[in-house]
């Protein structure tokens, strides 16, 4: 059972190894002539003002929260979909009840303007 995951583990190691080797190799062959201006963050070519540890729109948090809620609900549907062959009508009704609760939350988020961006 778990043997099927051994190749995945191998692949992770090979992929990380590939990335690290590429970075190390590049660091051996590339030139390094830095100066103060080159190391400044890019800002349209004029002198940099302040840094990027600043406030940003709350909407990104709302989207992230909605994502977590809906994504978990979606993953709940995976096992249901696999055995739908056997559940048939019972499964359909159960899932409609489940989706109904999900859709109420979705409609609430929509009405509250969480899905608006402007």
């Amino acid at each position: 059972m778990l043997e099927a995951y051994v190749p995945v583990l191998l692949f992770v190691m090979v992929a990380i190894g590939f990335a690290v080797v590429a970075l190390v190799f590049a660091s051996l062959v590339r030139p390094e002539r830095y100066n103060k201006v080159k190391l400044e963050p890019y800002e349209c070519g004029i002198e940099t003002t302040g840094d990027a540890r600043d406030r940003y729109s709350i909407r990104y948090y709302i989207v992230a929260m909605l994502f977590v809620i809906f994504d978990v609900e979606t993953v709940f549907m995976f096992p249901w979909a696999v055995i739908m062959n056997r559940l048939l009508l019972f499964g359909l009704i159960e899932m409609i009840v489940f989706l109904f609760i999900l859709i109420v939350g979705y409609a609430y988020a929509w009405k509250q303007g969480a899905l608006e961006w402007a």
Binding site: V8, F11, Y34, A52, F78, N85, L99, L102
Partner: protein
Amino acid sequence: MIDLIVLPLIKIVFVLTGVLITVMYLVLLERKVQAWVQARLGPMRVGPHGVLQPIADVVKLFVKEDVTPARAEKWVFTAAPIIVLVPALIAFAVIPFGPEVNLFGRPVPLYITDLNVGLLYIVSVAAIGVYGIILGGWASNSKYPLLGSLRSSAQLISYELAVTLTFVSVILAAGSLSMVEIVEAQRNNGIWFAFVQPVALFIYFVGALAETNRNPFDLPEAESELVAGFHTEYSGMRFALFFLAEYTNMIVVSAVATTLFFGGWLRPFPNVEWLSFLGLVPPWIWFTLKTFALLYLFLWIRATLPRYRYDQLMQLGWKWLIPLAIANIIVTAAVKVVLGS
């Protein structure tokens, strides 16, 4: 021991090499297709018709100076491209390139592994890449990358929902999460799921364009407003890893679409007898052809469509694709109940 470690390792090296070469030439193909659409020639100088251009590009990326901005978080800045690239590559672990074949008198399946939760594996692995993008943008400690990474991650997670929901309807049609069994289900049904689930295919494709930051949803890299998005501060090899990850993701979503909707390695019309001469072409060639047809579609769309506005993008994802995908699931389940009883 040989079956557990050596054989998978050989396959991994094959797949990794294949993916890298495909990415190199996909970039050339993209430049060529863009050029032809605009009545230009594209790269012509390096080798005949520019066929050696990818090699020149790789050499250039290796010998470029790699700048870490003075105020960046050094380790996170370096780790971010690796966190983006590794999930993109390991998604290939469950992609079935072909059925079992006999090589040197030993049955060898043409996939690295067949997880019984293959599709769930793809979903979860694809979700890791977002961390790399947001860490990279934040660690740069520069304004454009921060804005670009926030936008990018909001876009990725929004469309990930729609894409994951389409998977549910495919699972309903196939009755399995294993990629190999989904392909076999299409053989048994005698029809590709593209025809059983056209709505799911449409949503998946739109979602895939957004997930790979391709036109018309390439807002994370909207050059005219965000310079280069989350990788503005990246250069040299670390930029190359981001770049590689982006194109690898394109190949992954095309390969997944091929497996789920276009019958994977199966020849067209797998059950029609008089077309059996199509079976002379090896299955993995069919798989490659289908994947490349989809990749070409990506390039074609890039050359054709203008870019979306950000609020339109979020509206399309949340207000259209998600309800449509949920409705598609209910209809699919209802049809299944009617057919099953």
